[in-house]
Subunit: 224 residues, 2 copies
DNA sequence: TGATCTATTTGACTAATATCATAGCAAGAA
DNA sequence: TTCTTGCTATGATATTAGTCAAATAGATCA
């Protein structure tokens, strides 16, 4: 994944994208390695070249929620940079990842010279804000079961594929605990919801291999 | 409240701010009047000149959550405009308000001619995104009591004032039901939390008049 | 003033999810 | 193999907040 192929950085011309890629420092992260911590000052942004990164928020009692997953092409840390705030969440490799750091002076220079880049980040922030507001609304409005169904649907979109018989296949990128952290519930509750979905025959879970036998019924579970 | 005094529009020069204000169509809204509906196409943005506006999201069962309050100087509708999405929430006057509509062609032209305006909206979106993520985290992590304490603290910051004896005074801009909608809980639960806080002596509620007798204890309630 | 309306509070009960304890199970290490 | 170790699942119980119904309190209006 090159920066030029990303939603945001594609605004740069050849010269600038080359300059930015040259200024970028790419590193390998193993599963579990931390990219930045909540509370850290923002030194720049991180472009995910390969792998999968989780963005987490923790509280005092040790509860942690998983706010989002970043895939190749995504840029991390632009939000606190734009807001002029310290990091309000930490980022950690969920899978082995290659991540390129671009210091904030370079980012600011590029945005200054290419207004379209700033607008792309505005668009990204605006979309994410809509999603975050939706997520809040769902968390207080829907049951754990419905939210898990929604998570499955989203995961299917991002990580799954259809099969010839109309069912959907999916390899979950996350453990049960991490899915629980995405929903803001306990892992036991996720286990119970999975057990329940199995009972209805809508889905089949084998470790992280999921078959969605009846996508329409799963949609119904999400809505209710 | 003039546009030039707002966090975002202050980026415009005198000529452009005058042009924008001339393009703006200002209207009066009574309490309860709707400014736009969830699902509507975005026709432009709304600058709140006076009053108080609530941004709401409803679901199929009629549950509604109050996502945020917009005060004079705030601009509504820029998020879906920037994201190129329809409105994902509705807006409604909580108090009688004066609101100026600016059509999206004008907004886009101004942003095109003044990159700083776009960056101001980026900063705004980035801050709101941080808040929204925090709100999700709180909603799944903290008790109703703690979240209500936090709401009180935020309300105090925005609408309250200190008194000479060290206690804090506040006139709530919202009904109990609307506070419940901000927290994503039922009005009965808000009543019970208020009753409980009264019992501890930390706060005193008389209709919408609130006295926070012991701000430190209120902070403790928030944290736990 | 009394009548009515709505918002709020209170109480009894129920439902949903967390908590805690324990057990199973797969993958890797000795 | 056998022993860990960590993740997942299950059962029993506790806690929290929701639901429903009724009472109360203000506000408005005739």
């Amino acid at each position: 994944m090159h920066m030029i192929d990303s939603e945001e950085w594609c605004a740069l011309n050849d010269v600038d994208v080359t300059a930015t890629e040259e200024a970028a420092i790419c590193s390998n992260y193993e599963t579990g390695d931390v990219i930045f911590y909540e509370g850290d000052d923002v030194k720049g942004v991180y472009f995910v070249k390969a792998g999968l990164v989780g963005v987490r928020k923790a509280d005092l009692e040790g509860n942690s929620t998983l706010l989002k997953l970043a895939e190749p092409g995504d840029t991390l840390g632009y939000r606190p940079l734009a807001a002029d705030q310290p990091h309000r969440a930490s980022a950690e490799a969920v899978n082995p990842s290659i991540i390129c750091f671009i210091d904030k002076a370079t980012v600011r220079q590029m945005i200054g010279e290419n207004p379209a880049l700033g607008l792309n980040f505005l668009k990204r922030a605006a979309k994410e804000l809509g999603d975050a507001e939706e997520k809040f609304h769902e968390s207080v409005t829907l049951s754990t079961r419905a939210r898990f169904a929604h998570l499955l649907i989203v995961m299917q979109d991002r990580f799954g594929h259809a099969t010839e018989d109309g069912s959907l296949q999916l390899t979950l990128p996350l453990s049960r605990s991490d899915m629980a952290a995405m929903l803001g519930v306990r892992p036991e509750s996720v286990s119970r919801v999975i057990h329940e979905l199995e009972g209805t025959g809508i889905t089949h879970f084998a470790e992280r291999e999921v078959t969605i036998r009846d996508p329409n019924s799963l949609m119904d579970v999400f809505i209710k």
